[in-house]
């Protein structure tokens, strides 16, 4: 089920420059959400009609809360960052499919790049088995480090080398001679492309969370498609809807170009 709720912000703080962490009281959504799903946030400013899709970072089903961690990327996220405890936001969710949690792997990679790191925190909490978490940052402005360390072994990479391996997430994997049976990732497109190739090379199962501009967020408008290897079930034209068929795809389903 999907719900539209008026969520109440129970906590918001800036956890790194321009990166905000927000806990939302949103009972129905929190109860059903799984890691890898996202929710649509709506602006109070009515000049902005479209939802802002944001991945669920952590889920507190007991308290009925979800945590979002987002970067200020434009006017909408800037608006959200100005709200505080007690303010409300219209939200719709949980949306999309989430990462597969039912496969039994002994050891998995959870790889997050930049603002793709947050969903890895919630995934690490729910995924069984040993977790090797690789988080790629731009620089020393790291965030969610504690949350990630709690549920797995954390390896850092940074573009400027100020923390962890200097380079990208794959550099960190290689530098630390890491191996696993499967790979779960979220981050910028070039990173996902490289990870897909790496997983194929290593014979790992690979699940990637994609992004695209969205309008409906629920699968109705066909704005957010990605190319798929096979004809899709919905329109039979090798286009999958990221909001509905994804955002998490098995890497071999999709054509990353």
């Amino acid at each position: 089920m999907k719900y539209k709720e008026t969520a109440v912000i129970t906590e918001q703080r800036e956890i790194a420059p321009d990166i905000f962490s927000m806990w939302l009281q949103t009972d129905a959504i929190a109860k059903e959400a799984v890691p890898g799903q996202f929710i649509s946030l709506y602006s109070h400013d009515k000049s902005r009609m479209l939802p802002r899709p944001v991945s669920i970072c952590q889920i507190d089903g007991t308290k009925g809360r979800v945590r979002l961690v987002y970067r200020i990327a434009g006017k909408g996220t800037e608006e959200f960052s100005g709200y505080g405890k007690g303010d409300t936001l219209e939200v719709v969710g949980p949306l999309g499919n989430g990462f597969p949690l039912n496969r039994e792997y002994d050891r998995v990679f959870l790889v997050g790049g930049g603002i793709g790191i947050p969903p890895m925190a919630g995934l690490a909490e729910r995924l069984p088995g040993e977790k090797l978490i690789v988080a790629g940052y731009r620089n020393s402005e790291v965030f969610l480090k504690e949350e990630l360390e709690k549920n797995g072994k954390l390896y850092l990479a940074s573009e400027d080398g100020s923390v962890g391996t200097k380079g990208n997430v794959l550099d960190a994997v290689r530098e630390n001679h890491l191996t696993a049976q499967a790979l779960f990732a979220c981050g910028p497109a070039p990173m996902l492309r490289a990870l897909k190739a790496y997983a194929a090379e290593q014979g790992m199962d690979c699940y990637l969370s994609l992004e695209e501009r969205m309008a409906c967020g629920v699968g109705a408008c066909l704005a957010c498609v990605c190319r798929s290897m096979d004809v899709d079930a919905h329109t039979h034209v090798k286009n999958k809807r990221i909001c509905k068929d994804g955002p998490v795809f098995s890497a071999d389903e999709i054509d990353l170009g």
């Binding site: 009515k46 957010c224 034209v237």
Partner: protein, 303 residues
């Protein structure tokens, strides 16, 4: 007091004047997760062609002030899958089914219309005004003679009443409305999207891959109300009004301007309950002003 919200479009009785705008509501499946589609007068489907269309490259949409641009490019599974899957799905709800038809040539339109002729759908809406595909579509929607011709041809194959959907990208909407009427249209719907463009100034490129896209949402509502007003007075056909409707108050503007029914489009993206709430809002307006029959409000703006 009783409040009658039903309207009649070319013999088809809708329980209320609210429908969905083509392309914003799929074939209803996604929004049926939020509410019973029986709350609506009709569901208008995404445009369907004779064969599957892959649509345009992404990004396909961009947000604009109180609106959005889209260039989906009419991605659709083709009429055969549609008939097999979408019609049976929609038949489960107590609402009318209106199939939006797109094509590149007159023959394309006629092929789809013919395939639908023995199907349990209530009306057909012919999209001759999509600005987002290179061939066909918009060309028929911007020249009166072409519009009249395509209308006449389609009518030959149609068993259901035909709605011709007009483009707002014209100098004189009344000329287009009259052309559709002359071609034998049963109903008119307007407006489709206004052609627009957004530029990403940081990447110095177009915000959507197709360069231009169709502008929709509250931004266009004043243009839409004006055109509905003009079209409704130019012809004697019922008119379905749309363009930026978000709630009952917006819908009432169109109805007072002369629309016999209204469609909710972009607003669904802002609020999945928008179409249902629009129907409720119309009812609330009638109750507030104690108007017993919605028909008494159609075109009832004072001059």
């Amino acid at each position: 007091m009783e409040f009658r919200t039903s309207v009649n479009l070319a013999g088809v009785e809708l329980k209320n004047p609210v429908m969905t705008a083509s392309g914003t509501f799929g074939s209803g499946a996604e929004y049926s997760e939020f509410y019973d589609l029986g709350a609506l007068g009709a569901v208008v489907t995404k445009g369907v062609a004779n064969v599957p269309w892959p649509g345009n490259p992404t990004p396909r949409i961009a947000e604009t002030a109180s609106g959005m641009l889209n260039a989906i490019g009419l991605q659709n599974p083709g009429i055969d899958v549609f008939i097999e899957r979408d019609i049976p799905f929609l038949r489960r709800f107590d609402t009318k089914i209106i199939v939006n038809v797109c094509g590149k040539t007159i023959a394309d339109y006629c092929e789809v219309v013919e395939k639908l002729s023995d199907q349990p759908v209530d009306m057909l809406e012919i999209n001759v005004s999509c600005p987002n595909v290179k061939e066909g579509g918009i060309a028929f929607g911007q020249k009166p003679e072409a519009l009249e011709t395509v209308t006449r041809e389609v009518k030959k194959y149609a068993r259901q009443p035909v709605i011709m959907k007009l483009s707002p990208n014209v100098t004189d909407i009344t000329e287009m409305a009259r052309a559709a009427e002359a071609g034998g249209a049963d109903v008119l719907s307007l407006i489709n999207t206004l052609t627009g463009m957004k530029i990403d100034i940081h990447r110095r490129t177009f915000a959507i891959a197709n360069q231009t896209g169709g502008l929709s949402g509250p931004a266009v509502k004043p243009v839409a109300v004006r055109m509905v007003y003009q079209a409704a007075r130019a012809v004697s056909l019922p008119v379905i009004g749309m363009g930026g409707i978000c709630n009952g108050e917006d819908a009432m503007e169109f109805i007072l301007a002369g629309a016999a029914a209204v469609s909710v489009g972009t607003a669904n993206f802002n609020n999945p309950y928008a179409a249902k709430e629009t129907a409720e809002g119309i009812q609330a307006y009638m109750e507030k002003y104690q108007i017993g029959d919605i028909k008494d409000l159609i075109g009832a703006v004072h001059l």
